[in-house]
Amino acid sequence: MEIQAIPPLPQAPAVEPPVLSESPSLLPPVFQNDSSAPKLITQGAEALLYRSTYLLPEIPCALKYRPSKPYRHPILDARLTKHRILSEARVLVKCRKEGVPVPAVYALDEKEGWLMVEWIEGEVVRIKLNEWLRNRKESGIQEGGEEHLKGLMRRIGSAVGRMHGIGIVHGDLTTSNLMLRLNGISIGDEATTDDRILDGEVVLIDFGLASQSTADEDRAVDLYVLERAFGSTHPRAEPLFSEVLDAYGQSFKGANIVLKKLEDVRMRGRKRSMLG
């Protein structure tokens, strides 16, 4: 079977979802009598993400709601929603217990289809990285001074490695599902120096496609997806992707076997050859 060079899929542009309803009335009744109504942040294929509060008005939280799908049989719909809410929560709890940086689970209702987790103050890596790359371009820096970017890449690699080390695969690793937590940096002077932009703890988010697995194949596919996401979203940062892999290789026992496997995955791409 010949190996074909398959061009990478185009990365999703930042598209506005077709229907972004501002009204929180889509949510279950428990969220409708709130004086500060949950604010819709984004809509994916499966879930709606809101910003809300937990217990006290000062404690922000992220509310992920999986509405029921009218096309699915009600029994199947309930079964899938329950399974997905519970498995995402289990994965998050396991990560947290083992010290992998993820949001804390606050509350959930698997029948109603919602999951409430800690609100991570900060920004996704995609935005921060693009900001840093743009600033550099504008100030005409060609090379050198890449230590901060290297540092970020290494932090990403070791966070992913720690997650894999405890038997979790993410299933959708992109720079939009990695966040940089703002700790101790006051928002005002965050952008004063260029290099501060890439500071912060790397936090993994959105475990909607995650599963518990220790298979090297699954881990390698996770890395491959992340590598392609870098290639299509931040081509100028791609040469430093080796830093991610280098830090990953040191992060848990068996990581080097995964890196070997990654070479196979790269060779075949994600796709199989097609028979009639």
Binding site: M1, Q4, I6, P7, L9, P10, A12, P13, V15, E16, P17, P18, V19, Q43, G44, A45, E46, K69, P70, Y71, R72, H73, I75, L76, R79, L80, G171, D172, L209, K271, R272, S273, M274, L275, G276
Partner: protein, 284 residues
């Protein structure tokens, strides 16, 4: 040709299926196409079968830039156009959805006339009880072989003990319920991966092509999903969904008009020919 009142002089080129498909039929067609090409001195255009389905669907329904769900006995793919290629966003990792349905029809020993899938669809209309089957979606990909194994097992149990009842409602389980459960499960998977692709590329049009695309329940479910996203679904009936010659001619003509030719020496066929290998010069 006599019926259409055209002569060989009206023919621009000979389009033939280069692949993918079964070896023997592909080879016979390639030989016939070469012979006609030499006999009538018309140039050859090799066409990808899947691209034929997609272009045919676009032409018939008028869908401009849809997410395409291509579902047949041999293929299950979610396809979107970007930069001169039909890119495969998701696909079945083992057997195709049509193959799963056909093989289950054989398990039940129901008629192949006019099509096994059609007879499953008719039986499913009488089903009410939803039985538990595996649901195998991973990202934008899916898998059907485990579902087939499970439903075959349920069918064998039902044959051994026809008095089984649904624990929830107390209804007697029938083969119609098996067909109903199979359809509800596999079509929910297909709609889900299509929706994920739509969210990914920000499109709200869906086009369903391929033989399974003529299933009205699949069209209905897809319609409900598209409506939720503020979009709509384009589908055709069995005349255009099922493999046909005009789709090869149509896709070949589009390529021909952009100057594409297949030289006699290159007029081979191949069983493996991915949709995303075709350079789509005729679209913006």
């Amino acid at each position: 040709m006599a019926e259409a009142k055209v002569t060989m002089n009206d023919v621009n080129c000979i389009c033939y299926t280069k692949g993918p498909g079964m070896g023997a039929p592909l080879q016979s067609v390639a030989i016939a196409a070469r012979m006609m090409s030499l006999l009538w001195k018309k140039e050859l255009v090799g066409v990808n079968h899947c691209v034929g389905h997609i272009e045919m669907g676009r032409e018939i329904t008028g869908a401009d830039n849809p997410i395409v769900l291509y579902v047949s006995g041999g293929n299950t793919q979610v396809v979107a156009y970007a930069e001169q290629r039909y890119r495969i966003f998701g696909e079945a990792l083992d057997i195709a959805v049509g193959n799963c349905l056909d093989r289950f029809a054989r398990t039940l020993e129901i008629s192949n006339d006019p099509a096994p899938g059609y007879n499953i669809e008719q039986l499913a209309k009488k089903g009410k009880v939803l039985l538990d089957l595996p649901y195998a979606v991973k990202g934008m990909d899916c898998s059907f072989s485990g579902i087939l194994a499970s439903i075959d097992l349920l069918a064998a149990e039902l044959k051994a003990n026809p008095e089984q009842r649904d624990p929830l409602t107390g209804d007697v389980i029938t083969t119609a319920d098996l067909c109903f459960s199979l359809q509800e499960t596999v079509y929910a998977m297909l709609v889900e991966i299509t929706e994920r692709a739509m969210a990914h590329v920000g499109s709200n049009q869906v086009l369903i092509v391929g033989g399974v695309g003529s299933n009205l329940r699949l069209q209905e479910m897809m319609g409900l999903m598209a409506k939720d996203r503020g979009g709509n679904v384009f589908a055709t009936d069995e005349r255009f969904c099922i493999d046909n010659g005009i789709m090869i001619a149509h896709a070949g003509l589009l390529a021909f008009e952009t100057g594409f030719r297949t030289a006699l020496n290159d007029s081979t066929c191949t069983q493996r020919f991915r949709t995303d290998e075709v350079f789509v010069q005729w679209r913006d």
